[in-house]
Amino acid sequence: MIEIEHLTKRYGAAAIVDDVSFRVEEGTVAAVVGTSGAGKSTLLRMINRLVEPSAGRVLIDGQDTMAIPEDALRHRIGYVIQGYGLFPHRTVAENIATVPRLLGWDRRQIAARVEELLDLFGLDPAEFAKKFPHQLSGGEQQRVGVARALAARPALLLMDEPFGALDPVIRHKAQDELLSIQRRLGTTVVLVTHDMNEAFHLADRIAVMNQGRLLQYAAPAELLTRPAEAFVEQLVGSAERPFRLLSLMRVQEAVEPGTAEGEPLSVADTLHDALSRLIWLGREVLPVADASGAPVGRISVSRILAHGRARA
């Protein structure tokens, strides 16, 4: 668990980060969003002390980060940046082995861990271990960057625009992959992004920042239905609101008893996807099946629309 308490960074009179406090629960993803210059990256970099706070403190599992030597602290925290910063003179395997090597793991342990991570990210060790970063595609570099950050099994992963350099198709795949690996490993993630879709797609909670201040820290749905300030409403996009809301909910939540004709939707699909299918096929209702394919009921356009409405 990460507790950020009254964290402040001043350069001269200007406060880049101004008295920010929030808490990230174990194993969840928190996204920090805001316009450029809002202080997102500075906030993130104060967590691993790449930037020394002017005031306030960060607790990781109750321990003040100032009490830990900064290099030792960073060994325990994964760090991924836009552009990844892979070491160009080192192979993929050597890049991933960076922190375990600093921690003095033995050779066999490191080799096993590198192989495990390459497998986890769908990179064949036989093919990729000996490659150099410039021989990789953007998507492969991104995966190596995340694998390197996870090498020493950190409980916390900090990511600064980690998908910013990817094209939209690969970006979406990379986000799904990160989410599934995060769920599997139970890693706590703090992610900085200016892409609202990314924040809504990945985050359990979203922190909205503007001019160094934290405006709201809430679950994505709450951000949509109960924006704390006009700025938040503007940032999440008032026109997009119903659709974002629908993409946060699953068919499970709107399924009704009954049957319908056609190819069934899955309970795990988002309401957003379900609505698109209904519109596209020109249908009012479609059947719904569970994960094993057994029918569990049906879903209708009107029920979906009801879920996308503002709640008083």
Partner: protein, 402 residues
């Protein structure tokens, strides 16, 4: 040049076959023709300081020998014009040099009257032009072969071995250059050692001081501007002036500090030469260290910090390895520059190959000048090849696409 450019248009099958003339090869062929038929191959002088008379190749060798050498060289010229495969062109250049170099030694023996120890035979314009043409052909072929760094080092070793073999075989012993050498064999090797000590020693000292200075200058912006300014100013001082400037303080030091005198520091001699070369070497080393370090991508250093590499680990494991090719490029400049500049050291009694150059100028004995100049040029050339190979090796894995 009668160069016919052949362009292939897609979809059109050319049934005509052109003889394609190589452009550079044509230039080389012209050089070779001038060298063979319009320039003297060797110079004959009755003694070492009188003016010489040129001897054409046909006069410089027995008829059969002259014809043989001419035939070989013409074949080489033909290859240069027509052959396209770099290996064949390289072999042709090697064969040409293999004919011309021994021929020069042979002509010296042939032209020198038996028992005459005063007569001097030295290479003339024709020989130099042939060497230039063949060296061009060889260099061009090597470039086209795109040899890797290790292969280039091997090629250098082969060339050095061939020259050493030629010299050791005695084939050139009748040549004026070797006669000058024979008269001065002891001092030649003493000055060679001195020359290398001045050039390499000052380079090593400049690396020892310049590398840390470059690292500090990279880290502290204020220091960077000051250091680079001062070193740039030093660089603009002419070498002779710098030697002169150093005489006074070093003389004072030698006279008043017994330890300095005991270490061999004097106002003239090797000490001021060494210090001047050292000062000239600092700018390339410091400048390239700063440039190399500042070219390390910021994302890489940020990631390194974020992963908890200490300042020292970042420097040794990330920044210096990535800056190494640029730093080595600075060392290459220093080495080539120092090997040349060290000749000037002889002016203030610093020794080195310059000793022969300045003695030769004083005596108008051009062979003696060559005895100093030729090894200097050969050393600079070898140093450049070796450092270039090292730079490629240092770039190695991270740049193997280019």
């Amino acid at each position: 040049m009668n160069t016919i450019l052949q362009t292939t248009v897609p979809g059109m099958h050319s049934s005509r076959s052109h003889i394609i003339l190589d452009r550079l090869g044509s230039v080389i062929a012209v050089l070779i023709s001038i060298a063979l038929f319009a320039a003297p191959f060797a110079t004959y002088r009755a003694n070492r300081i009188v003016a010489g008379e040129g001897r054409m190749l046909t006069e410089a060798l027995p008829t059969a020998g002259a014809l043989g050498v001419t035939a070989v060289i013409l074949c080489v010229a033909l290859c240069a014009v027509l052959a396209r495969a770099p290996v064949i062109r390289l072999a042709a250049a090697a064969a040409g040099l293999g004919a011309v170099f021994p021929a020069l030694g042979w002509s010296a023996g042939f032209l020198t009257p038996a028992g005459n120890t005063f007569a001097r035979v030295s290479p003339a314009l024709g020989f130099w032009l042939l060497t230039l043409a063949l060296a061009l052909l060889a260099a061009d072929a090597l470039t086209r072969l795109r040899l890797g760094p290790l292969a280039r080092l091997a090629a250098l070793a082969v060339a050095a071995g061939a020259i050493a073999g030629l010299l050791l075989s005695g084939a050139w012993n009748d040549l004026s250059l070797l006669k000058e050498y024979a008269n001065r064999a002891d001092s030649f090797w003493r000055e060679a050692r001195q020359h290398l000590w001045l050039a390499l020693g000052s380079m090593a000292a400049a690396c020892l001081v310049g590398l840390p200075l470059g690292i500090l200058a990279h880290r502290f912006r204020a220091l960077r501007a000051a250091v680079l300014q001062v070193l740039s100013i030093v660089q603009t001082v002419p070498s002779i002036a710098l030697f002169g400037i150093l005489i006074a303080p070093l003389g004072y030091l030698a006279a008043h500090v017994p330890l300095a005198a005991a270490l061999g520091i004097r106002g003239i001699g090797a000490a001021p030469a060494f210090i001047a070369l050292f000062l000239y070497s600092l700018l390339p080393v410091v400048g390239n260290t700063v440039t190399g370090l500042s070219q390390v991508p910021p994302a890489v250093t940020d990631a390194a910090r974020g992963m908890g590499l200490s300042r020292r680990q970042r420097l040794l494991e990330v920044e210096l390895p990535l800056a190494l090719p640029v730093i080595l490029a600075g060392v290459r400049i220093v080495l080539v520059q120092n090997l040349g500049l060290a000749t000037v050291a002889a002016l203030i009694g610093g020794g080195g190959f310059g000793t022969f150059v300045f003695q030769g100028i004083g005596q108008t004995a051009i062979d003696l000048v060559l005895l100093g100049a030729v090894p200097t040029v050969a050393l600079s050339f070898a140093a450049a090849v070796i450092l270039d190979a090292m730079i490629d090796l240092a770039k190695g894995p991270s740049h193997d696409r280019d």
